[in-house]
Symmetry: C2
Subunit: 234 residues, 2 copies
Amino acid sequence: MMGGMSRSLAPQGRTGRPPLTSRAQILEAAHRLIDRDGWEKLTIRRLAAEIGVGATTLYHHIRNKEDLLILLLNDHVDRIERPPLPDDPRERVVVAATAMHDALAAWPWAAEILTVDGFVGLLDASALWMVEAVLAGAEGCGCTPDQAVHVFRSIWYYTVGEILVRAHSAHRRPGDDRPVRREPSFAGLDATRVPHLAAIGDRWPALAARDTYGEGLRAFVDGLLGPRAARGDV
Amino acid sequence: MMGGMSRSLAPQGRTGRPPLTSRAQILEAAHRLIDRDGWEKLTIRRLAAEIGVGATTLYHHIRNKEDLLILLLNDHVDRIERPPLPDDPRERVVVAATAMHDALAAWPWAAEILTVDGFVGLLDASALWMVEAVLAGAEGCGCTPDQAVHVFRSIWYYTVGEILVRAHSAHRRPGDDRPVRREPSFAGLDATRVPHLAAIGDRWPALAARDTYGEGLRAFVDGLLGPRAARGDV
DNA sequence: CCGACTTTTCGAACGCGTTCCGAAAGTAGC
DNA sequence: GCTACTTTCGGAACGCGTTCGAAAAGTCGG
């Protein structure tokens, strides 16, 4: 059985109709489309039209749009240059987490896939140094491997939340007084029931617009790796 | 046009065609639909059919589906009973944040609206006690009002991230080997490039499945309200 | 009673992601 | 050359959220 040998090189044992489309071609066209029209215009149908094939053809090369975005994201993350990691393990966690955050926040459409099941497991090997650095830093602060995973996950939740909430901000159009969604009135709050909130008043939007990721991250790392990593369980 | 008798008796001064549909009626039908068929089946078209009106009619009573979900969420949160708040301000932050988390995590479709712009401002007054409690607790620990908002936002990001990531977990179907999305191989990692990750190996999924929201929250609160709230800026 | 005005209703249509299934275009064995 | 098999391609269709514009059904001022 199977007498043939050598002569590999070309897909020689290949049977079936030869493909016109390749995944590389799809990714390239996606980049072109995004650069030309913006990423909101990246749809399966437009992408197929850009390549010149039927829309449903793409589904033989990618599983769905979510996977296409993950491929594009990996493309991007691969090109990120690694910042120098400090010696102090705690500081290494901060730097690595910030690198994760910045890499993702720079891709507007990262928000659409950040929460897919097992996201970290879908990253290219070239992106895993960020995860590794967080784990290493945590263990360098005395964590067990299991505790280090907990540290990573906590920071990951915080990072994902920050990116998602901020990605959905500033999308509101000004002149729009349709039913519901009254423009939230931070000003007219009941000062007896929610005094602190009322004291903030309409300064809330301004405060919420501030970028405090870094501050929060440092606080979180302080709490997680604290003066003593002696939380027995986990 | 429709058979339904006019039953007018206009509430006086009211001009225009009398409405057949009310927002209360829509919300009631939505609840019915969710209870009967599950919340994945809550679509604008099905909801309209449940009421017996055209799909586009709903858009005169709700702005869009997102707003419908916010209305439903407020309905739910209103019914939540407030846990007793401890005296210790730091503990009050933990209890209030946990109440927020649990209220949201209990609604599977909360994940679809958690990140809308200015979410906190869209909550009913009856839900704001959770925000208030966090602010009050933070200020009780020596924070300025501005710092308290920062504390709330940080905890909010962490909470949103946790809920969103977990909501998207366990959606994968088992027998599915289409292009891309290889089942992530935590086992075969390069132990020289990512030693800590490789050491975890295939235990990652099990560790990631643990519920560690509470632990992470406590650590975050420790870091934010720390042994001393003397972080000059913010 | 008659327009003018206002509000609600809804059919038609758009673009979206995705599934289904038959047609097309190759190879392998006879 | 034929048949079987395998893989790719793509038109048709589905249900989705949403927009548009015309028709319906009231009130109001004459």
